[in-house]
Symmetry: C2
Subunit: 341 residues, 2 copies
């Protein structure tokens, strides 16, 4: 029975979307997970009543299983990450995360300020030995299976050693949470040959080839949406947070651009939205912050109730697979083997 | 009367596409440009006869104005850049480029090996003072006007000073060849605030703000396909060649991915290709290599005859606007003002 703390105040559509998402999650997974809604209790109760009085009327019974944990403060989208640690120690984010070291919860889910969530998660949950800063992984839809891209914005100017840590973190996530045995880890570069890339990427290629990971080799930008390179499919894409962030935002911006062009060309909105459902991040829900001791799931700021419900499922899978423990074990095994060699 | 040397042997569809492109260009611009087809004379004559005997039958008169300049060797797509300089001094690329310092031609156009073209152009044409290596600029279609992205793969691991040179080169290209007065130059980063980005990008932001260029500020990945950020439209996107190459290849890979999804969703191929015409690189043709003393136009390896014809037009505009001279003047003005300050 995973206990999942959900930030009721985080995200562009909060508090309505997280609260509605909690109801959807309780109905779908209520027999196996409990949900702790974190935030201003009066606001949550008022919003909950409004939802139960209107479109969520049939969720009244389900809603009785909802735990509410009061938190005075709210992290705004414009707050600096440090605010989450020092400025607002009683924010829904800080209160929700602290339940884990207190033994009262197994996971935290938020669609709020990503930088703040990362900082608060590292501060409150702590990071595993060998991790400098946690990595943000993003699950990206492709023409084939979805792929894990990391780091997607938390860490810029990365050393080759840090990129190798991302590769290890991404591989464990793909295996534990996505159920991909022996995941294939690729390195984003500007040519498939090992000698292509910038200095950090070229060195990372050599380190990954000797890492014991199932290394796919380099991929190029065009292989990401295809989900396949000349050497086959891959599960994980490793890059620094600058490149990863540019890739993800470009990805996000391309679909509306193409849709706009096609709509002008006479393709109906209905055909477009049906065809591109596959690219909707709501179906993914959220992705775990990798490297922390515990579970912190990062959702898109625009997350709908359905996206939140799916993120709760990701949280549960992350807890049940014991991903965080596996990361700690594998990183310490790796450090031991490095020390012995 | 611009004299344009066209590599008959370069590109995936050579020699047919460049030769057919030369015929199209002669017909459309024959009164103002001459075309010099560079390559193995026997191969060119044979291919030309084949085209004139079939789908290009009505071009026989036009074809008489075509100059053919023999070159023994061909640079293969897999050849290393150095081959273009030392290994095959009589390649169509080297022969075509040498016509410029010999005073026999004004521009060179090729759809061949880009790395080789860049190396041979820098070696034969030389670079302007202040330029370390020439930059590859790519004209990218967006939901609004097209934008110049540079560097798009020639220079990885760039210093802030090099990124500022790219900004200057891109601005002159946008003004001279695209006809955009006082072009707006943006910096690709991971947030619009000056303090967002990696170390090189953050420093570049400060240098660009003081550069005298019309600096748009930072843009994010999602602004590229939109062609607009919160601060309005922009003409030039500055980034290092690693990021630029990832962006361009991702861009190239997204359209087929989206088309594939929509085709599965029942949108007809005809609707898709009509709607996405705007994204076709053939309409752009080619982009000048920036920073060389002369004109070298880089075309996509898959260039069709129409793409080559459009690239010839880009070459003519680059010659007529005296872009290379302007680059030399502006860079030397800038160096003088730096020396005096």
């Amino acid at each position: 029975m995973a206990r999942i703390a959900l930030d009721a105040m985080g995200g562009d559509l909060a508090p309505a979307a997280p609260i509605a998402g909690a109801l959807l999650a309780l109905q779908e997974f209520g027999s196996t997970h409990t949900i702790q809604l974190i935030g201003r209790e009066a606001v949550i109760r008022e919003q909950l009543e409004r939802l139960l009085a209107t479109e969520y009327a049939e969720f009244r019974d389900v809603s009785r299983a909802l735990d509410i944990v009061h938190a005075d403060d709210v992290i705004e989208m414009t707050d600096k990450p440090s605010v989450a640690i020092r400025g607002k120690p009683n924010s829904s984010m800080a209160v929700g995360l602290r339940l884990q070291p207190e033994g009262k919860s197994d996971a935290f889910v938020s669609a709020g300020n990503t930088g703040a969530q990362m900082a608060a998660s590292a501060f409150i949950l702590k990071v595993h030995d060998g991790v400098k800063r946690p990595a943000i992984s993003t699950l990206l839809p492709t023409a084939r299976q979805s792929v894990v891209v990391l780091d997607s914005g938390a860490n810029v100017d990365c050393s080759p050693e840090e990129l190798v840590i991302f590769a290890r973190l991404g591989a464990i996530y793909a295996e534990d949470v996505l159920g991909r045995p022996n995941p294939s880890v690729s390195l984003l570069s500007i040519g498939e040959e090992p000698e292509k890339g910038n200095a950090a990427v070229k060195e990372t290629h050599q380190l990954l080839a000797a890492s014991g990971l199932n290394f796919h080799g380099n991929i190029e930008g065009r292989d990401v949406p295809a989900g396949i390179s000349d050497r086959g499919v891959f599960d994980v894409v490793v890059c620094d947070g600058f490149v990863g962030n540019v890739v993800l935002k470009l990805y996000e911006g391309m679909a509306p651009m193409v849709v706009g062009l096609l709509a002008k060309g006479g393709v109906s909105k209905e055909q477009l939205s049906r065809g591109l459902q596959h690219l909707d991040y709501a179906s993914v829900g959220g992705a775990p912050l990798l490297g922390v001791k515990g579970v912190s799931i990062i959702c898109h700021g625009k997350s709908s109730a359905v996206a939140i419900k799916n993120a709760v499922q990701v949280a549960a899978r992350t807890v049940e697979s014991r991903m965080s423990d596996h990361i700690g074990q594998r990183l310490s095994q790796h450090q031991t083997s490095v020390a012995q060699s």
